[in-house]
Amino acid sequence: MRIPCPLCGPRDRREFAYQGAAVMLDRPAPDAGDAAWDDYLHNRANPCGETRDLWFHEAGCGAWLVVTRDTATHEVTGAELAETVASS
């Protein structure tokens, strides 16, 4: 499996650490309440198909990425710097 790092180009999966669904970018306010935090931290759409998830190029450039990927086929259709996604 190869992940197209926007900074480094396509790299072997072994260079990356994984952190799950990109909904982790939408962190609730501290006082959002237990239900919001439960949903943020635990509940997942967990799709069989296209998903956006978070990868850390740990053995590479150190960038966090949002990768668009298919969980059924492992096709990777895109990768963006998470910082760009989070700042927009």
């Binding site: 499996m1 190869r2 970018l25 306010a29 960038a63 966090w64 990777v76 910082e83 989070a86």
Partner: protein, 976 residues
């Protein structure tokens, strides 16, 4: 036997080897199988279940029968395919799965029992009495099962792994593959051409057909030479593609050093990770046998193998050969044999309209219905219409048609489709993204079609890559149509074997259907069909056809099982190359490593680092004595310990403090420049992630310290926060761990020590507890932190790592002059337990700030990672297990790590469990054992006596619950 004048390597040197201890001779270029055939060895193995005598079936890696052990001692290599193993001088091969010998195997008694040992019989018996399974049945079954044996000795051979990258990976170097590689290379692509055979050419080496007016093998040799001369082509013979993985990644196994006598240092095998923009699957096709009664006798081979042995190696497995097929391959085989002067006793063609193509006895519309010969084929019976005939034959060449090698194309869950013309499964396009099939791998069976297909597919691939395909002329070659008629199993008395190695026959498949194991997966699992070392390459399609027939469905309706990697088995040593011994993970060494080793310290692993456990001295009775001495040294004089392994992260920027406020539960923006503060870091789930001290070196400049074990995780976490949760913060950071060598200097005389090494001496007023700043250490710019893990007046002094070794020696010399010395992590652990400092034994991932008594550190005035979730009701309940100290009621009482805690009079069972012990030590300072642990509602129970029970070590001790600080509770010594 060897046929004069045949084979590609005639007249080459003879090669001595042994088989089951017998000295034999083959010739250079032989496989072990070819050499065994040349030496008239018929029974070369025993089958898995019934221990039936078996001979060589095929001429390739799909061989299910001829598995042998090569070599001896630690080099012994079980389950080697004799059909793949190249002969070399001194090769030592032994047969397997037979006792006392492959010719006379006592376990063959199983075959007599076979009427009772049908598919799945074991699910229905061996249940009584209950205890007999482990004691009797299972050991007997295990000993009878298995094929070869491992030596039991640690591997001593070299294996390696490597990466390769290319534009186009061509898999298989037969007619299609050579053309594909040639065409792709001429278009300018970087090409890797891999073939599992030692010699490239595929079936061109095994057949007599001409290509472009040359013998096929000669044409292949020319192409290979041409490719070898091109800079953009890498030829990888002896390399089997084992798996197709995501985004154009392939696994491949190269046999590097298996074709010659053992050469120390040379790898036996290399496991390749090949990354290709495109792949062309030219893996050819595998011939399938026909299931007829007693079709497993030695001497019965696939027809293609008979031709390969004859044409490539000049050997044949019997004086009289018969041929049985449902396709034209039968005739081709007969003609080749006759041309070589071999007696062809009959050609049996199941197709009624078949015509003889030469001067041989043809039985059209006939079938083989039985065979004779206990240790090898002697004769066969055939039925043609109403008549039955017996034909003498020592070798029977069988062809049930060809199965395209679609395996790699199926590795990503794609299912091949049934083709009613070729009676085979063909790959669909797109099954593996970027891979296309060409030639026989997609059902193109004539040489001409393979050549043309290879060229065409390669041209398409080159165009897709933006290259300009060069004009690649396709040479002339035979272009006969592939004519085949369905024939899977022949009725008649006797077992009709499908899976030769696992001893699955037609009746087993029918029994599975009869018992309603109708799904192809159920049938496979119930009968073990296709689960042998060939993974059904020889038998799956026929078994599927039998199942389809038994269940009244068509083959496509019945489906296929899944092909999964690897295509051919891969040794663990190859895929795990480099890891044996110390290679499994990097070793991180501090600058004081050598000095510690020189002092005899046992070095122990801590988060990839090595740290000294303790420093023994002559006369020490045990490690405990050394540890006690080091603890006392620190408490009474001064000790020195390398703490460079702790993670150090340099954090700078206008928002550096804001970042720290967000990642730490407590506040850092209020920290003064030149001061250090202890920080507690939470995971977003509200549990403690790590702890450590952070120093403020400047208004916008901090240095964070992490634990040794969590350094990498914390770095990842900081990047996470900075890049995704708080991207607006103007802050940057980088690891500074490796630049610095840092040493703890702890004990009442630590100031005296540092006063001697810090340039200008140490002004006590400038260095209160938790101060930090730059100092020069013997002329070297360094840093000093007045922090303490031991609870003593202590410092940590850091210099650039190039000076680390020297500084450590200076510090030790100074310490020794003051009556102190080095201390290791055993003593460090005792010191911190005496002070009640937590480590990852306590912050083990399941504990919260509340649990460890640091709830007050979680600032309520700001958000931080883990803040909201740490407020969940379940994480703040008094009933939670809370950090406590434990002291034995009897000072001689033992406290042990991992023991559980109970009320004094309660039975030590789960329902009474109240907690557990995390850390223990013997405190030389206090003269008894100490422990930290977690106890339900523990903070409210100080003073209570509880029972500590360690079932595993047989220890029960009454202990007093106390505050988790045992020494200098007011912290006077650190400040003193």
């Amino acid at each position: 036997m060897r046929i004069a004048g045949r084979g590609l390597d005639q007249g080459t040197t003879s090669v001595p080897f042994t088989f089951d201890g017998e000295r034999l001779t083959g010739r250079a270029g032989d496989t072990l199988a070819a050499a065994l055939i040349a030496n008239d060895k018929r029974v070369v193995a025993r089958s898995f279940k019934y221990h039936r005598p078996r001979g060589i079936l095929t001429a390739g890696s799909e061989e299910p029968n001829a598995l042998v052990t090569v070599g001896h001692g630690p080099q012994a290599d079980p389950n080697v395919r004799a059909t793949v193993q190249e002969l070399y001088e001194g090769l030592e091969a032994r047969s397997q799965n037979a006792y006392p010998s492959v010719d006379f195997d006592l376990m063959a008694v199983n075959d007599l029992m076979s009427p009772f040992l049908g598919a799945g019989f074991y699910y229905k018996t061996f249940m009584w009495p209950k205890s007999f399974w482990e004691k009797l049945y299972e050991p007997v079954i295990r000993r009878a099962a298995g094929l070869g044996a491992l030596s039991g000795l640690a591997n001593e051979d070299t294996y390696e792994k490597a990466f390769a990258h290319c534009d186009v990976l061509v898999i298989g170097a037969g007619a299609a593959g050579l053309m594909a590689a040639w065409a792709a290379a001429r278009a300018g692509a970087d090409v890797i051409l891999a073939d599992e055979d030692a010699r490239m050419g595929g079936r061109l080496l095994a057949e007599t057909e001409e290509v472009s007016g040359q013998p096929g093998h000669a044409w292949a040799a020319d192409r290979v030479a041409e490719l070898a001369a091109m800079d953009n082509v890498r030829l990888m013979p002896r390399t089997a593609l084992t798996g197709a993985y995501d985004q154009g990644t392939f696994g491949a196994l190269e046999r590097v050093g298996r074709h010659h006598p053992h050469r120390p240092g040379k790898p036996l095998e290399c496991f390749w990770r090949i990354v290709a923009r495109r792949a062309i699957l030219c893996a050819g096709a595998l011939e399938r046998p026909v299931a007829f009664p007693n079709n497993d006798r030695p001497g019965i081979m696939t027809a293609g193998a008979v031709r390969a042995y004859l044409n490539r190696w000049g050997v044949v497995a019997g004086r009289k050969v018969a041929v049985f097929a449902n396709n034209d391959g039968a005739h081709r085989t007969a003609l080749d044999l006759m041309a070589a002067g071999v007696d062809v006793s009959a050609v049996i063609d199941s197709r009624a309209e078949a015509q003889a193509l030469g001067d041989y006895k043809l039985f059209a519309g006939a079938r083989v219905i039985g065979t004779r010969g206990r240790k090898g084929l002697e004769s066969l019976s055939l039925r043609q219409g109403d008549r039955t005939l017996r034909i003498e034959a020592e070798c029977l060449a069988v062809s049930g048609g060809w199965n395209p090698s679609v395996h790699l194309a199926c590795h990503m869950n794609g299912r091949p489709e049934w083709d009613a013309t070729t009676l085979s499964f063909l790959p669909r396009s797109g099954m593996v993204p970027g891979m296309v099939a060409a030639g026989a791998a997609r059902g193109q069976f004539s040489t001409a079609a393979c050549l043309a297909d290879g060229a065409r597919v390669a041209a398409d691939v080159a165009a897709e890559l933006g290259l300009t395909p060069a004009d690649t002329p396709v040479p002339d070659a035979e272009d006969r149509p592939y004519r085949i008629e369905e024939l899977w199993a022949v009725e008649g008395r006797g077992r009709k074997w499908l899976d030769f190695q696992n001893d699955v026959h037609v009746k087993d498949v029918r029994l599975a259907a009869q018992e309603n194991f109708r799904s192809v997966e159920h049938m496979k699992r119930y009968t073990t069909q296709g689960m042998a070392t060939d993974q059904g390459k020889n038998s799956n399609v026929a078994a599927l056809a039998v199942l389809a027939d038994a269940t009244g469905r068509s083959i496509p309706e019945t489906g296929t099982t899944t092909f999964r990697p690897p295509y051919t088995p891969v040794s663990i040593a190859a895929m795990g190359a480099g890891a044996q011994g110390m290679g499994f993970a990097p070793r991180r060494l501090t600058t004081s490593h050598k000095a510690s080793v020189d002092r005899g310290a046992p070095m122990i692993e801590a988060g990839l680092w090595y740290r000294p456990a303790y420093f023994p001295k002559p006369g020490d009775a045990s490690w405990q004595e050394a540890c006690n001495r080091e603890v006392t040294t620190v408490r009474t004089a001064v000790g020195v310990c390398d703490v460079s392994t702790l993670g150090k992260i340099d954090i700078q920027g206008p928002d550096a403090a804001a970042l720290l406020d967000f990642v730490y539960a407590n506040t850092f923006s209020t920290l003064k420049v030149g001061r250090v503060r202890y920080g507690l870091m939470l995971r977003e789930d509200g549990h403690v992630m790590d702890d450590g001290t952070t120093a403020r070196l400047g208004e916008d400049h901090f240095l964070m310290t992490t634990t040794t074990a969590a350094a990498g995780l914390v770095m990842r976490h900081l990047e996470w926060v900075a890049q995704t949760l708080r991207p607006e913060l103007d802050v940057v950071f980088t690891s500074a761990t490796e630049h610095w060598a840092q040493f703890a200097v702890a004990g009442p005389k630590s100031r005296d020590l540092l006063d001697a090494v810090v340039d200008g001496g140490l002004d006590p007023a400038a260095w209160p507890f938790m101060a930090c700043g730059a100092v020069d250490v013997m002329g070297v710019p360094g840093r000093l932190f007045r922090i303490s893990f031991s609870g003593e007046h202590a410092y940590e002094v850091a210099v650039p790592a190039r000076h680390g070794a020297a500084l450590y020696r200076v510090l030790l010399a100074q310490a020794e002059a003051l009556g102190g010395g080095a201390y290791g992590i055993e003593a460090l652990n005792v010191l911190r337990i005496e002070k009640g400092h937590v480590t990852h034994a306590e912050i083990h991932g399941r504990t919260t700030a509340f649990d460890i008594g640091c709830e007050g550190m979680v600032s309520k005035k700001k958000d931080c990672v883990g803040f909201a979730t740490s407020r969940r009701p379940g994480l703040l309940e008094d009933s939670r297990e809370q950090l406590v100290g434990l002291k034995p009621v009897d000072p001689a009482g033992r406290l042990t790590g991992g023991a559980h805690l109970f009320a004094e009079t309660a039975d030590p069972v789960r329902s009474n469990d109240q907690g557990y012990v995390t850390s223990t030590c013997h405190s030389p300072t206090l003269g008894h054992d100490l422990a930290l642990g977690f106890l339900a509602n523990g903070r409210a129970r100080h003073g209570e006596t509880i029972k500590m029970v360690d079932h595993l070590r047989g220890v029960t001790t009454l202990a007093r619950v106390c505050e988790p600080v045992f020494f200098d509770r007011k912290g006077e010594r650190v400040r003193g």
